[in-house]
Amino acid sequence: AQTVTQSQPEMSVQEAETVTLSCTYDTSESDYYLFWYKQPPSRQMILVIRQEAYKQQNATENRFSVNFQKAAKSFSLKISDSQLGDAAMYFCAYRREVETSGSRLTFGEGTQLTVNP
């Protein structure tokens, strides 16, 4: 079974600075997807960024980027120029190759990010 581990229960960052959230995962498969989701107090899970395992290039979405190390099974999220609205719980998630997994995601325990003004 796949597992996802987030070793940082809480992180804090000053507004406008950069922060990196860590995630490691365990799988025996070669084709899969990795995601970072944000869950603000409104409770709705919002997709931040996704990475296909077959792509060597790290995904980037505006201020959000990932460092995907497939051999090390590591998938960290970097938030640049942090904003107050970035404060939320962040979840790392894994999904098997889509043809077999459907909509089944395996989530980590989450990292609570605080942004200080």
Binding site: R43, M45, L47, R50, S103, R104, L105, T106, F107, G110
Partner: protein, 113 residues
């Protein structure tokens, strides 16, 4: 375009009771999945519905059951509630038989006393 909507937003039940939670998927989506998120933890996959049938199931007992209707909306039923069933229940919808991006609702917060 309405996103994923869930009802009720909050509810309180007592041990042994039964509960039904409802979910309407995002327009154009045909697949609904349900997740349980205990306080301070990540969501856990319960099951997925497509074409009115359960297609995948996580490690949850038979007390957890579901249904999908012809309009793609879905219900999650939990029988014989336990204190440990207290959680946020998230519904997610996707298109193309679950192959496209997941969109989540805001969840139903269940408290079992």
């Amino acid at each position: 375009d309405a996103g994923v909507t869930q009802s009720p937003t909050h509810l309180i039940k007592t041990r042994g009771q039964q509960v039904t939670l409802r979910c309407s998927p995002k327009s154009g989506h045909d697949t609904v999945s349900w997740y349980q998120q205990a306080l301070g933890q990540g969501p856990q996959f319960i099951f997925q519905y497509y074409e009115e049938e359960e297609r995948q199931r996580g490690n949850f007992p038979d007390r957890f059951s579901g249904h999908q209707f012809p309009n793609y909306s879905s219900e999650l039923n939990v029988n014989a509630l336990l204190l440990g069933d207290s959680a946020l229940y998230l519904c997610a919808s996707s298109g193309r038989q679950g192959r496209s991006e997941l969109f989540f609702g805001e969840g139903s917060r269940l408290t079992v006393l």
